[in-house]
Symmetry: C2
Subunit: 311 residues, 2 copies
DNA sequence: GTAATGTCTTTTATCGTGAAAAAACATTTT
DNA sequence: AAAATGTTTTTTCACGATAAAAGACATTAC
């Protein structure tokens, strides 16, 4: 097996959702742009849609024949890229416990357990190393540094430095900048979510990321913008892992965001600074409270995953 | 060819230099630690040394028979790791000109031109991407962002933020911390270099890196420490590229370093801040002055290297 | 009995290979 | 002639295979 066709399958599924809305599909290049894939992939999608009787396809004519049924879709798990599969699998092991700082990471074993080639695992580890959780020993294995309290403190220290600076830069942006419209839109979405908090509290993390990324972008500094990838990754898995009091936490965070947004709109540096600090402080608390003081919990079944071995 | 034995060759050369100093070599594990390689490699080295008549080897007895001759050494170019070869080759292309922002990077072509497999090039690009000079398009090629003025400004902005914080943390370190001895040692080396500047000015960049790394380590923050890799990489190639006024620049920098060291030793936050700012400001000037305003120069022979292609 | 050497096993680093996907080129349609 | 479709070429992605290097285990020496 050389390469999975997840790009095609994922784009196919997304294209199926498009069928609901129109009677005929646009041109091949247009579809390619829409789905973010090449024309080659678009044509594979169209071929299959024709075969399964979803559309009639003759050159420029792509007429929708019927609404897609559940069985037309490829299974969700077949649409993930290898990198996503490896990341999820790796993070599960990391957070599931038994993964103590100093343990060795075995590429070959990780690859075997996930059922992928070693090259993909190696490339994942290299990419992942920038998050500061693992480290490579020259011509040898990787070492796990652990998702510890120290890690969280180091991460938040940088985050606070970067976000205070970005927020200040944001507030100083000219009135006619497009960001103010983006901010208004985010404010509306925050208010909607706040009023619907009882049922939609789990939608907060996506909104959170969008607001912070918008603010960070005002720094116009690629290192600051890129660093948000580290934060986003950590918070993504942290949210999945720590569901305790999720609703209440998010409710508080939404209010802090609204205050933060108001401060930004005031364009008063002092107010921005205060609101930003307040929110970052509680974000840090949330993250820290989810990390046990000493070490990670042991796995439920009492066995150690083979991926991480004691040094 | 699956893997070059550069680890062995490099360790062999380093071991040869050890022969000058002693009549007999230490135990295998000891040698391994000394050279930073495994016993397997140590034994290969000893085997060859025995074969070429450099030593007599019988179990624990490793007697030196003769001083190594130039022809005993492996050629320098055979001791580089693939990663180093690829990095040098890539940076040469990048800095040699003709590499404008927005150009595409072709993995396959790069691999062919350097004469290595695509896997190694891919891994290099992934590792290199954290420097912020290239960016990956999803399921597609890499894009060159270019070694531009904007890049230098973004880099120095972060550097200044991090170093001011690290320097403050450094000055606050307890008197009995080991770093003060390290700092004293560096001060001595700076004074020695200053008095010998006429002949040894090119040794400054190594000293520069050591001082800044020592200071950054005081932050106790892995992201700050790791970020120095970006700075070190840029300055490394920048120094190789821009030799104009090198001696004078280094002379000035040494004096700034001495003032900076004195400020740190005074442990007065205000003095540290002033000295640090002053040095960072001139470092930024030096870097910026080497980057042409508009774009990189065109290659001398008028042809475009195939590695980078217009978008 | 500790620490070395000798031997065997496992892991890492790198390549060539082949399918998926992108990109380039050629042809047709409007 | 601009923009689509049809066709071919190139590049990316991922794998298995193999030599280098590390690591583990067994044996010997002090």
């Amino acid at each position: 097996m050389s390469k999975s066709n997840n790009v095609y399958k994922d784009a196919f599924n997304r294209c199926l959702r498009l069928l609901d809305e129109t009677q005929s599909l646009p041109s091949e290049p247009e579809l390619g742009t829409l789905l973010g894939v090449s024309r080659t992939t678009v044509r594979s999608i169209l071929s299959r849609m024709e075969e399964t009787g979803l559309i009639a396809w003759n050159k420029r004519n792509k007429t929708v024949l019927r609404t897609p049924r559940p069985e037309d879709f490829f299974p969700e798990e077949e649409t993930d890229s290898l990198a996503e599969i490896i990341e999820r699998s790796f993070m599960r092991r990391l957070l599931a416990g038994g993964a103590e700082a100093g343990m060795q990471i075995n590429e070959l074993e990780l690859a075997r357990e996930i059922g992928v080639g070693t090259t993909s695992v190696r490339e994942f580890l290299i990419r992942f190393s920038r998050f500061g959780l693992i480290e490579k020993r020259r011509n040898s294995h990787w070492v796990l540094k652990g998702f510890t309290r120290a890690f969280a403190l180091e991460l938040t220290e940088i985050r606070e430095m970067f976000e205070l600076r970005s927020a200040a830069a944001f507030a100083a942006l000219p009135q006619d900048s497009a960001v103010w419209a983006d901010l208004d839109r985010l404010e509306v979405e925050h208010r909607q979510l706040a009023s619907d908090i009882a049922t939609r509290f789990n939608e907060f993390s996506e909104l959170d990321e969008r607001l912070h990324r918008l603010i960070h972008r005002a720094s116009h500094n690629r290192f600051i913008v890129d660093f948000y990838d580290v934060i986003a990754m950590i918070f993504h898995y942290h949210y999945q892992w720590n569901k305790a009091e999720e609703r209440q936490r998010n409710e508080v965070a939404i209010q802090e965001h609204l205050a933060y947004i108001a401060a930004l709109k005031s364009r008063d540096p002092a107010k921005v600074d205060t609101a930003c600090r307040k929110h970052l402080k509680s974000a840090r608390q949330t993250l820290l409270s989810s990390i046990p003081e000493g070490r990670q919990a042991q796995p439920a079944d009492g066995t150690l995953s083979g991926t991480f071995a004691r040094a």
